[in-house]
Point group: C3
Chain length 167, copies 3
């Protein structure tokens, strides 16, 4: 079962995802996809981990998400944007290659016996990014969002903390 949750910044995606996970399990897993860029970033991540109560197991995985999910797990993946950023950086901002690699990793989730709640972001409803790298990333994000939402069993957009059912 795959749940796709998207929305703008601070729209309540993470709270909604965590509550959804806790409604399925008392021992959910939190998969953070952020690469650790520096010591400050490391501290911020550790603070996020400490914020979640001890029902949660926290895992960090930059790309190969399937490797940290076991049968019958209930997991929150946070988030597609940071995960895609890792592919984008490592391919030197190659959109096609990043999209291909990310789809390969995502598709491995489709055969799992697990409850997967995947958080993404809407970043394409404002004016164009100032930089070419930013504009191309916006396209990458949009295409990957379409791919994930298409394969998800349920899709939700958060607006001001309220869930809007997409499917």
């Amino acid at each position: 079962m795959i749940y796709y949750i998207t929305g703008g910044e601070r729209s309540g995606k993470s709270s909604y995802a965590q509550n959804l996970a806790l409604s399925h399990s008392n021992t959910p897993k939190y998969i953070a996809t952020s690469r650790v860029w520096d010591a400050d970033h490391r501290k911020r991540i550790d603070r996020h981990i400490a914020d979640r109560d001890d029902r949660w197991t926290s895992v960090e995985e930059e790309k190969n998400i399937v490797s940290v999910i076991e049968t019958n797990d209930v997991v929150v993946i946070d988030c597609v944007t940071l995960w895609l950023t890792n592919f984008y950086v490592d391919t030197k901002n190659n959109v096609n290659k990043s999209l291909e690699l990310a789809k390969i990793e995502f598709n491995k989730l489709l055969n799992l016996e697990a409850t997967i709640i995947i958080i993404s972001n809407e970043i394409g409803m404002g004016v164009h990014a100032q930089t070419e790298i930013g504009r191309k990333f916006t396209e990458l994000q949009g295409w990957m969002n379409q791919h994930i939402a298409k394969h998800a069993d349920k899709a939700t957009m958060m607006v001001s903390g309220i869930p809007l059912t997409l499917k």
Copy 2:
């Protein structure tokens, strides 16, 4: 009764809010939250006031909204973004302090016998702001939107002039 209306720029929020107010009262009140920055801005605000017909009473209040609402009033508050900006500027861009102060003011509205229509903005569905101050304000806006929407009786997102019911 609190109505929360959000949406993008020029998505028809204000027209929708005004029509909603007029469906409740022939003598609604318009509360503009914008700080007056200079003479040009003053002129623009006066033009907006002149644009509304004489059924409307126009009031300006930068922060303490409850002070200009009386029992049984039907009011449009325009808007959360400008109102939050005043807290943000006065706290020297302190997100936590601004959020705390804004929540205190907003919560005073919850006990009123009045029809309150509060307009906000979706600003977090594009790429990140260029500046740290802008990025932090986007977070402040998102958190306050969640707080208001949670306490509103009805919530609506405007898209291209069409109301989409959130709750």
Copy 3:
């Protein structure tokens, strides 16, 4: 019959519009509104034309859309943003004049016996544009979107490839 389709970048608007057109006709028409800015742009447009299969007739028209639509045509107009840009550039960034001219052209579509699928963009849900020209264009886009959506028989917002019915 007018269908209005809006959404963010890479949200699946174009695919959805094309599938909708093909559900109405085996010989739909594609109206590209982009001005050709240079040789690179010309190549990109030609690639888009080649991407569509031979059921499609491709037409380019910068402003006067009605001139390329015939009775009983099934057309996709792609897109309002690029079309508005042409008015905006030619009026030296005059929002009011652009809006007036664009409405005159759009209103000519209202009396046609044709199936018109018109694609636009949501660009006002992020932070403000960096430039005055960009901010004014965002307003122009918002106002025109409202006008088109109001006159459309059906309106849809695409989110992550999933259609959300506006009306």
